[in-house]
């Protein structure tokens, strides 16, 4: 990935505010939830970018903005050089072939009244991808690709376990041979041994089909496993963007440091310094002034309360937004 490569998806200054309204007849806006606030992110062809953060940090909203399931409040999104941020539903239609999504909850994201074959074949029928026989054949190929058997074609979702359902969700996303897949917490609803199966499946599919992933998750160990680069979000902003290994070896932002130290390590002999963040994530309705992390940050000084730190480059491909960056001279 050189700096000259053209990104497959390019987000610039993306903002998404949700209005909070009061009143019955004359609704007026009383406040706004700043779910995503000025986010820039490039996705290079063939890479996996992990997007991590705690619940409520705006990571899922950002993912949904990228495929225009939400309209943007501000900002631009380009896919393959084309500005898609103001296209309407009809104009988006052809692009849906290229960008697909895998959802978090495999129990809620499959229609319980449809057969598996119909669920996976629907994208093909909607996009008019051939005659019925062709669709059937393609669905069976897809079932095989994700490690299910073609006999599963006529079954209903309730007949499958969580891991198998998530495979069905992946097969549906792959039906139209997309180039970009946005996976929103694809394994967090699954048991660990099944998580590993689905994570391995996603990485095999990437090798085979040259897919680009945006992998949204709150689990830092899974994200590390799949990602080339990782973006850490906090209260609607990206606070650190780094090559995967570097984030774990030397995080620059204090929030990333705390997040990493909070992950339990399955080894009772390892003694680690654990940074326990105090309090909860502040409300995104009235985010703190200056650096949004300053009320919970152990390095915070006066400047942090007044001035918002910009996301600046500290090392090759390693950006962070902090007045007191860590681990710079090692």
């Amino acid at each position: 990935m050189s700096d000259h490569a053209v990104p497959l998806m390019r987000a610039r200054g993306v903002r998404k505010y949700f209005p909070i309204k009061r009143g019955v007849v004359f609704q007026r806006e009383v406040a706004r939830v700043h779910a995503v606030d000025d986010v820039d992110l490039d996705l290079m062809p063939g890479e996996t970018v992990g997007l991590v953060g705690e619940s409520g940090c705006g990571k899922s909203t950002f993912g949904r903005c990228l495929i225009r399931l939400h309209d943007l409040t501000d900002g631009t999104i380009e896919f393959d050089g084309q500005d898609i941020s103001s296209l309407d539903r009809k104009q988006m239609r052809p692009l849906r072939r290229e960008i697909q999504m895998v959802f978090q909850d495999p129990y809620a994201s499959l229609n319980p009244r449809k057969r598996v074959g119909t669920i996976i074949g629907d994208p093909l029928r909607i996009h008019g991808a051939g005659a019925r026989a062709d669709v059937n054949k393609r669905v069976q190929e897809l079932l095989e690709l994700v490690g299910l058997s073609p006999e599963h074609y006529n079954r209903y979702p309730h007949e499958f376990s969580g891991g198998q359902r998530q495979r069905i969700g992946v097969a549906r996303a792959l039906a139209l041979s997309p180039r970009l897949i946005i996976a929103d917490e694809p394994v967090s609803a699954l048991d660990v041994s099944i998580q590993a199966q689905v994570v391995n499946l996603l990485s095999d599919l990437q090798d085979e089909l040259g897919l680009t992933y945006l992998f949204i998750a709150h689990d830092l160990s899974v994200v590390r496993h799949v990602s080339d680069r990782i973006a850490v979000m906090y209260l609607g902003k990206i606070v650190e963007l780094s090559p995967a290994e570097e984030l774990y070896d030397r995080p620059i932002h204090p929030y990333s440091e705390a997040l990493l130290s909070a992950v339990p390590v399955p080894d009772p002999d390892v003694e680690r310094e654990r940074i326990v963040l105090q309090g909860d994530v502040p409300s995104p309705i009235t985010p703190p002034s200056g650096c949004r992390f300053h009320p919970r940050c152990r390095y915070a000084t006066d400047i942090c309360t007044t001035t918002e730190p910009p996301l600046v480059k500290h090392a090759e491909q390693h950006l962070a937004a902090c007045h007191h960056p860590l681990n710079l001279h090692s």
Partner: protein, 338 residues
């Protein structure tokens, strides 16, 4: 360990009669918990860990549930108590923190009322005394500004704060045994770290015994003293925490350890997934229930159900028919499982 254990479970079986057949949710589970000790119970969904916990509390009231076995607490068998007598034990001597803080609090009652309810019931405190104690408890579990929050409703609290309320409730009568069923699963890692620290501090302070149920081996490694690994309703490995992580004996435990990507190790290209699915608890295969997913299964595994017994060390029990030497060799051949 000369004194009798505080809580001893002997050969506990729980099954449910359903239209499709009998579900053997818990199958011959035995363990002990001593004062001041944290026992971790690890397993995947459907392994019977929550049913075990609910049974200890006698909270399974289903007409179709069939129990056998003993739960000895301070010399009394809880399984024989009437629900009326159980009321004296539950909440006061053994209390439970439930998994989902979002649904375990009653949305129409104020937080303070829900906590001091048990203080009034068990300790016979007046409303005023109970409120004072509740304020202390809320402070102890780290709710900022308890005076202002005690009259809030659950929806005004975040997930982490609701879980703290659950913990405050669990600890309100200084129980001897605290059962925590996935207390941090619904929470973010930074909040999880706070809660684990809190449970550890409180356990040391009150010298209670804790039964911590989780699916996360990382959590177990950090807080548990001993660990029971459950699979398909049975305990397949039972050991002191250091032993379990240094020398796991059961192939299922190897699989579990291999399938988590770890922050303290270099990144691997692939995770060692356990292939297949857990078996249905209605028609468990004869022999070892992990057989179908086990890469090392051999003839005996088909016919013989392995007992949970010491094979590699006096206090390290496992239910696998491979000999200690064979296990050593198998594990040496699969580096990611070690």
């Amino acid at each position: 360990m000369s004194e009798a254990p505080l809580l001893e479970v002997r050969d506990l079986n729980v099954s449910f009669r359903t239209q499709d057949g009998t579900v053997h949710a818990v199958d011959g589970v035995s363990f002990t918990v001593n004062r001041g000790e944290v026992l971790g119970i690890v397993g995947e969904s459907g392994s019977g860990k929550s049913v075990t916990a609910m049974t200890l509390m006698r909270l399974i009231l289903d007409q179709n549930a069939v129990f056998s076995g003993e739960v000895l607490f301070k010399g009394r068998d809880l399984m024989q108590l009437s629900q009326g007598d159980m009321l004296q034990v539950r909440g006061k001597q053994i209390s439970m923190i439930f998994q989902d803080p979002m649904t375990s609090l009653n949305p129409v009652y104020r937080i303070g009322w829900q906590i001091d309810e048990q203080l009034r019931a068990h300790e016979g405190l007046s409303a005023k005394q109970a409120r004072r104690r509740t304020l202390e408890l809320l402070g102890a579990v780290g709710i900022p500004n308890p005076e202002a929050r005690i009259d809030d409703y659950p929806h005004q609290f975040s997930g982490g704060m609701r879980q703290r309320v659950m913990i405050a409730m669990g600890l309100s009568c200084n129980p001897d045994v605290l059962i925590a069923d996935e207390p941090t699963t619904a929470l973010d890692v930074t909040i999880q770290a706070q809660i684990l620290e809190l449970i550890g501090n409180l356990q040391r302070e009150f010298d209670s015994a804790v039964v911590l149920i989780t699916h996360d081996l990382g959590v177990v490694a950090e807080v548990a003293d001993r660990v029971a690994v459950m699979y398909a309703g049975r305990i397949v490995e039972y050991a002191e925490v250091g032993e379990l992580f240094r020398g796991p004996q059961h192939p299922y435990t190897w699989g579990l350890l291999g399938s988590i990507s770890r922050l303290d190790r270099p990144r691997q290209r692939r995770l060692a997934a356990i292939s297949g699915q857990p078996p249905s608890l209605i028609s468990l295969p004869a022999g070892c229930s992990f057989r179908a997913r086990c890469p090392y299964a051999f003839d005996r595994c088909r016919a013989e159900r392995p007992a949970l017994e010491a094979r590699s060390g006096s206090a390290h029990l496992d239910a696998c028919l491979l000999s200690a030497d064979q296990k050593q060799a198998r594990r040496a051949a699969t580096p990611e499982a070690s």
